[in-house]
């Protein structure tokens, strides 16, 4: 079998983590330029931090899987 395919698999997983972090950054940037007020929007803004935390936690776990996949690719390459 070709180790390149497994490297590519790791890269795809890594790409998922990059996408999640990028989306979190875009939410953060949009938040900085959003003028908000009290009332109904308060509930929404309370949830933004929660969402950002979940995105970052997900990204970290996806990166860990990418690392493990990359380690597997190394083993395949030297097998």
């Amino acid at each position: 079998m070709d180790a390149t395919d497994v490297y590519l698999a790791a890269a795809r997983v890594d790409g998922c983590a990059v996408e999640l972090r990028a989306r979190a950054d875009l939410v953060r940037l949009r938040m900085q330029t959003t003028r908000w007020r009290s009332g109904a929007a308060t509930a929404a803004f309370d949830r933004v931090d929660e969402l950002l935390a979940l995105l970052m936690m997900s990204a970290e776990r996806v990166e860990a899987v990418a690392d493990a996949t990359r380690a597997l690719a190394v083993k395949v390459a030297y097998s």
């Binding site: 007020r37 009290s38 009332g39 929007a41 929404a44 969402l51 997900s58 597997l72 395949v76």
Partner: protein, 414 residues
């Protein structure tokens, strides 16, 4: 009063731009949802799994470990699943908030302009001696002169800060027992509560009532009916319901109307051990919330339930103790509940019932008889779990075998 509150009424730096901001943020959050869906699809793709299956020939344990970790990422409960759920709720909340502000903006200025027109025509009719139609017209204008419109006028310097509005002190007038058939009949559901409030609303300016409902076992519970604004006169005047009370109450300040309600409870012999339900329309709903807040905090009365109809309680109810159960009836076509620019908070003790009931008039959309009595009846029949839970919690107010009602009038003294 904060800038955020004032800005809701529009103006140069007003609601449109801020609503656009909310829509833009909603769009970004929507893309987060799509990205998470893409990520989940990638992590569960056959192509990826096939690569891992091939690699398992070299190190089966490591390949299985990676597969398990992939599964843990995409199968509930995982942070990615929670993020999907959170992004969906956030997206919907942002859209609802933006739409709510748009509704407020559209409604409030239309209502305000219509109210100004009604007042002008009413003044002409007064001048011509057409008193009855003039009074009707002015009354029709009242819902348009809502606190939010008043806040805008305050920003222009036309009216003063709520805290500086002279509110005087309450003067309680005993109007005696009310023995009308509808009043004598113990209420059994939300519809009955709002029907009795509508009857009280037909009374004098500042007229409220305290009904003591007696259970089969002799236990007494008190229900207070609190109608809304009856005068748009902002200058110091004896009418405790006049619009200065709206402004003060919306700002969370105490009012003569509120203190008058407490004095009426005491005059009716309601003690600290008696459960009390407050039922208010429009301004009366704000007064009900503020009264419950202050009475519970001070321990002066045991207010356990509040029912409001067409009242802007989004902001004031934030300060309400959780021990008070609230059911708010709101017609989405009625501009008054939206005038505080705040959606009602999502809380276990606050159930908001919405309907869309267009009557082609401000007064009709805000009317107890035309709008809120039918909405209360519909709520009773809905079978909705939250409504049923509120009604069940309020059960002892609605299972009485006898009731006696005493009417009072609250005026302002200076």
């Amino acid at each position: 009063m904060s800038d955020e509150q004032l800005s809701v009424a529009g103006g140069a730096d007003g609601i449109v731009a801020r609503t656009d901001d909310l829509y833009a943020l909603a769009d970004v959050v929507q893309k987060v949802r799509l990205t998470i869906a893409d990520v989940s699809a990638t992590l569960s793709s056959p192509w990826l799994r096939l690569r891992l299956a091939e690699a398992s020939r070299v190190d089966p344990f490591a390949a299985v470990d990676v597969e398990q970790r992939l599964d843990e990422l995409i199968v509930w409960p995982s942070p990615l699943c929670f993020a999907t759920d959170g992004a969906t709720r956030l997206w919907l909340t942002l859209l609802a908030a933006a739409a709510g502000y748009e509704h407020t903006e559209d409604g409030i200025f239309g209502a305000f302009l219509a109210a100004v027109g009604d007042l002008f025509v009413g003044a002409c009719e007064f001048a011509l001696g057409q008193t009855d139609s003039a009074e009707d017209r002015v009354f029709e204008a009242l819902p348009g002169l809502t606190p939010l419109a008043m806040r805008e006028l305050e920003q222009w310097g036309v009216i003063p800060d709520p805290a500086t509005i002279a509110d005087g002190h309450p003067v309680l007038h005993d109007l005696g027992p009310d023995r009308r058939v509808l009043v004598r009949t113990p209420p059994t559901d939300l519809g009955d509560l709002v029907r009795q409030l509508a009857l009280r609303n037909e009374g004098r300016h500042g007229e409220i009532s305290v009904s003591v409902v007696t259970d089969a076992d002799g236990t007494e519970h008190a229900i207070v009916d609190i109608p809304g604004t009856k005068s748009w006169n902002l200058s110091p005047n004896p009418d405790a319901t006049s619009v200065g009370t709206d402004l003060r109450a919306m700002a969370g300040l105490d009012t003569s109307y509120e203190e008058g309600v407490m004095q009426a409870l005491a005059a009716a012999g309601v003690g600290r051990q008696t459960d009390v339900m407050l039922v208010g329309h429009s301004e009366g709903g704000i007064i009900a919330i503020n009264t419950a807040r202050d009475a519970v905090r001070s321990g002066r009365f045991r207010i356990t339930h509040v029912v409001t109809a067409g009242s802007p309680i989004g902001e004031v109810s934030e300060q309400l103790p959780r021990s008070v159960q609230v059911l708010a009836l709101e017609n989405d076509d009625d501009v008054v509940p939206a005038t505080d620019s705040a959606g009602n908070p999502e809380a276990p003790n606050l159930t908001t019932v919405h309907v869309a009931d267009e009557h082609d008039s401000i007064g009709g959309n805000h009317s107890l008889d035309d709008t809120y009595v039918p909405e209360a009846d519909a709520a009773d029949a809905s079978g909705n779990a939250s409504i049923d839970a509120f009604v069940a919690g309020a059960g002892r107010f609605l299972t009485g075998v006898a009731t006696r009602t005493h009417a009072y009038q609250i005026t302002r003294g200076f």
